[in-house]
Assembly symmetry: C2
Homo-oligomer: 261 residues x 2
């Protein structure tokens, strides 16, 4: 086998095992054979790696000798992440404060491939609507405020990739045209905040601002989501400025924010 990757030093087996988790995250469910093909290894190797992952509860097989899926051990670990990680804790605390003052759901989201993922969430007391947003949720980049922020500041190749793919519609207001999206992203860069005016879900709107590392790179998006009765165009700018204050606190207080990735 050709060693196409040039990692600093070798942890081949670990790399492969972790890649399996990503494959399963993408596919949702996969057979040993399929995993082996995608990894480019023999099926016995894939079988053993999966067995190791299963021993730790990170994957489960649906039936005896059935297909594999991600397991609940990951939820356990993710819970520990939010509970123990100092970065998470600080972000959480800032979000809690914002959620209290804005009275709606506040999220921190990061870019992952071609999607936007919530990593921290805080809810305002006024949350009466069913909870559609949650930590770990993947949302499209073109139909959410956080997504637009992340996309606007993302490397050009990501931006162009999204612009070149079909833009799925979720409501009748979802941006469907690449040129309109491009203009919207330019506006985001210009004004420093993005909105989602019922483009992702009916009667629900949101505002988002970038969160920057100390070096100035945009590493995350901070957003507030709520019913359009409270979050609507006349108030967008005001909400954005309050979010920006929170984002600034994050940049200042959260050490090594760049590690979000």
């Amino acid at each position: 086998m050709v060693t196409s990757e040039q990692h600093p030093a070798g942890s081949q087996a670990v790399d492969r095992a972790l890649s399996i988790l990503e494959i399963l995250a993408r596919r949702g469910e996969s057979s040993v054979g399929a995993v082996a093909v995608e990894l480019g290894v023999h099926k016995s190797t894939a079988s053993r790696l999966l067995a190791a992952l299963e021993r730790h509860g990170l994957v489960v097989q649906s039936e005896w000798r059935g297909t594999y899926q991600l397991g609940f051990g990951l939820i356990r670990l993710a819970g520990a992440t939010t509970a123990h990680s100092s970065v998470s804790r600080e972000l959480q605390s800032i979000c809690d404060t914002l959620a209290q003052s804005l009275n709606d759901t506040v999220n921190v989201a990061i870019l992952d491939e071609l999607a936007c993922i919530n990593v921290v969430q805080a809810m305002g007391r006024a949350s009466v609507a069913a909870v559609k947003e949650y930590v770990g949720r993947r949302t499209p980049l073109h139909a959410t405020s956080s997504g637009k922020v992340l996309l606007a500041y993302a490397p050009p190749e990501i931006r162009e990739k999204v612009l070149s793919l079909p833009l799925a519609a979720f409501t009748d207001r979802t941006i469907g045209s690449p040129s309109v999206l491009r203009a919207a992203l330019d506006q985001v860069l210009d004004q420093g905040w993005a909105t989602n005016d019922e483009e992702w879900e009916r009667d629900t709107s949101a505002v988002a601002v970038p969160v920057r590392s100390l070096r100035g790179d945009v590493v995350a998006a901070l957003s507030v989501t709520g019913p359009s009765t409270r979050i609507n165009p006349p108030r967008f700018a005001d909400i954005a400025s309050r979010l920006q204050a929170g984002a600034a606190t994050m940049s200042a207080h959260v050490e090594f924010l760049a590690s979000l990735r």
Copy 2:
């Protein structure tokens, strides 16, 4: 080094890497040296394993050459778990239905070491209180309804282990005496459901029932949590029977529920 474990076949490096995740989940933050000691390997080995984990975003180091913590990649994967896993999806759907009908927060929790972990959650429309429960949350076994269910049906060694350790108090109603807890667990086995009457948080109560695999083993707990104004002793039995219906649906519909672990 003595090979004290007898795994079917070897994935030593993968096992160690995954163990690191568990160590970090427990400790929250750890230095390379500490990880190496706990794993019983050389620090260079720990360093390389951590680097591999970091490449995949599962851990991050606080600063340059600083300590390591769990990373947001885990949240990404956990999100994929709930989104794609067929088991999760079915459990989620059943919880959603229950949450709508009971109008409070419904959780599925599993046993993890000496704690209880929420793996699925659905919220009723009436949730006005701040969200204290969340997926991934670890709670003690003696102070929650889910915990009592899991503990009551757990293997004797787990049960005795918990009974032998000090029982932390969270409210003035938390069970603090092993003999009282033992009696409570016996009652759970007897009646088939457990309660938490403001023992974990003031003004908040809960009811939980066991979820069984098709083989009859208790693999999880299904619970509803809400303000004591709605969830209180006179209603416990009725709520429990409605939960039991949901648990039965889970056993019947969710294939290979045993894989929860």
